[in-house]
Amino acid sequence: MLKLTRRMLIKQTSIGVGTVGVLAAALTTKTRFENSSNTKAKAAEESGLATGEGLVVYVTDSATGTLTLLRGERATTITDAALVQHLLALK
């Protein structure tokens, strides 16, 4: 099971990613975690990801609020209309 809360998902996807549809949330890319190794490690621990491990989240159907999380060789589909609306509203 993915230990990924909605709060973590927002934290990981709302920084430095302006497009909606495909969101690459690699912790090694330019995120706010980059400035603080402690914060980065803490965030990784909270998400269940190994430090430096990436995660891809993409909105598969914005109408129903369906997202797919790609982590390692796994794919997990979740439905969270509010989160998708939040992502759509990002500039």
Binding site: A26, V56, L70, R71, R74, A75
Partner: protein, 456 residues
Amino acid sequence: MSSHREAPEISKDPVADNTDVYAFLSPDDSSTVTLIANFIPLEGPDGGPNFYEFGDDVVYDIHVDNDGDGDADITYRFRFNIELRNPNTFLYNTGPITSLNSPNFNRRQFYSVSMVNDYGRETFLAKNLACPPCNIGPRSTPNYETLAAQAIHTLPSGERVFAGQRLEGFYVDLGAVFDLADLRPFQELHLIHTGAAVPGVDSTKNVNVHTIAIQVPKHLLTKNHVQPKNAQDPHAVLGVYASAGRRRARITLSNGRTEEYGPWEQVSRLGNPLINEALIPMGQKDRWNSLPPSADHQFLQYVQHPELAKLLPVLYPGVFPNLAAYSKARADLVAILLTGLPWGVIPNFQNYTGPKQADMLRLNIQVAPAQNPSMFGILGGDLAGFPNGRRVFDDVFTIELRAIAGATLPLVDNTFTADAAASAVTDIQNPDLTARYLPHFPYLGTPKSGFEVPAA
């Protein structure tokens, strides 16, 4: 071609493009089955300085169905990785490569082999197996066949494997076939006249492919490892196909690297030659490549009523009158390609896997290798050849072309008389296959070197 560049998407992804699959009882050791899957079509032998290699980001599978449901019961899985000795040179090799661990061999490729069972459980059989280099030329890769032989590995579980460059085994007159089916020996009868007939051209005799070959003791492949009693035994028939997969997401990074995420998705599939190439319509080809054989029922209409069977009488007016008049579903092609031939259709032979329609090679492992094989396989009276599995030298283009032209239809419909042209149509008459193959594993011949075959 057999399945080279056969679908729009995979034609842009050569390292994952499965070009041919072979399955046959090893002629020099009939206690084993040899399974071969080729990838990377039409390799120009001089294609340096970055010579051809398997994809590190591709998973390569050879599947065996031993219960007739069109799904894999045993999968041999191959994963590759590159090791670069010296990143500060542009050279593939910094001197002659005389062994697989030569310090001059700069860009080496290794692979793992695993077996996946029908429950999806994967067991690694070997890791860090070396591939040979590409055949570059006499200064870089002298004694190439000796070098390549070092890359034949025996696994602790009993299989032998090879992964690396080989000479293309499939032969066809590409230029003529794709020019609105310019076929022999009656090309002067084509609807569009272009002058006198000219001999066929073996378009692939000087190109290479990348081969994954595995030789497996027969009992490791049959259901519950049973030893079939005879050729009539249902356990004697194996369904074989291959595939390649890529991760679902690929991120192109700003530093020139890429990252892959998510599960493996099938992007290429091949069982019988020429199915996705010549039977499946353009708008369905990419989807066909993504599906397992067990889903092939949805493509049944393209086998029952192949477009090419309608085209032949149009392109060659008056040459195929009986074929032109035939409108019923082609039960012969369904049997040959999707279910196998039941016992009795051809005397003393069957390769029937049951009613499930699935595109796979079907090999009856109780049919002994032929002493005097015919390149036309069963059409040539040789029960050990295609469509009983497929050997490296089988003329599958001609066999399938003749079948589609109606040569095999009388087997299942005694009201039909095949046109005389159906048993004569071909692309290359009497192809020269001298030195094209090896008499031993991995059976496909020594790849051409770039020095030997400069660009045309």
